[in-house]
Symmetry: C2
Subunit: 178 residues, 2 copies
């Protein structure tokens, strides 16, 4: 190769001060599934990743759980949502994810919002809105663009305090690191 | 699982009437790389996929080649561009694809346009514009959204006649099938 890639310093991440939540399996509501997504986000943090987690539900069951793996897989497409969608499609043996709900701790980025549309996810529930990078309400509403031929039901704010504290603490500790 | 997924009929695809192009390795211009992307699209067709192909260039070399695999991988995220970006990142050992050019036979969908931004691809060259699903000029210009913090140089129309004929013939033959 003629050009040489710029070398980035290996980024270290401060230790995660949060413990996993313990959702009650008796009530499978949005908070239940978001708690599982939150626990996925903790796993991401413990691997040195920005803590974002996702869970996909179908027929009341969890069919996919994943977290951000961009740094460890060295893959820009390895967001929690993309990895979860791949898992869910494998489980359902169909790339069409109609009938599923995707839970994610942060509003999906343009790539993941687009993937929800292309993968025909029926419902997306995210916790923290992202006015800069979120494309299911923040910067744009992908789910309202008529030419895309697939509309998604979008809800937000579930488990907001926990997910917000998690992400804010992560970035605060990272900035504070010498 | 409580719910049952809807069964979709196995779709068969008409035989591909096109032959691979033979790009000259003497001149590595946009047309050269797009011809390789076109040949990837032919491979997709021959596997029963919508014929879209992508190639990623870095420092004058091809570092990734892929085609649409949604049906065969049963994965909504298995678009040519996503698979090529994953390959390229593995090759460069970095998720940041700065300095690369992505060539694709059709304007990227919202997911793939978003992935180009998130993956920091420097330049995207696509052949056929897509006013309904394209997000690098068609429906929207992702590369011009200031909050996304990464701008992409976008060009289109390279090898337009060949790529357009390929996709139009594919859908015409598919519709004509009894």
């Amino acid at each position: 190769m003629e050009n040489k890639k710029q070398e980035y310093p290996q980024k270290t991440v401060p230790e995660c001060p949060f413990l996993p939540l313990r959702p009650s399996y008796m009530v499978r509501d949005d908070e239940f599934f978001m708690k599982l997504a939150y626990n996925q986000a903790l796993k991401a943090w413990n691997m040195g990743e920005v803590p974002v987690g996702a869970v996909i539900e179908f027929g009341g069951e969890v069919i996919a759980q994943a977290h951000n793996m961009v740094e460890s897989m060295r893959d820009p497409t390895a967001h929690a949502e993309i990895l979860a969608m791949t898992q869910a499609a494998r489980k359902l043996e169909d790339w069409r994810l109609n009938g599923t709900t995707l839970y994610v701790t942060k509003e999906p980025c343009p790539m993941c919002s687009g993937a929800c549309v292309m993968g025909r996810v029926s419902r997306v529930v995210f916790s923290i809105p992202d006015p800069k990078m979120g494309f299911l309400g923040g910067v744009l509403k992908f789910h309202d663009i008529p030419t895309l031929n697939h509309s998604i039901q979008v809800e937000s704010g579930v488990l907001f305090d926990e997910c917000s504290k998690l992400l804010k603490t992560f970035f605060a500790l990272k900035r504070a690191k010498p």
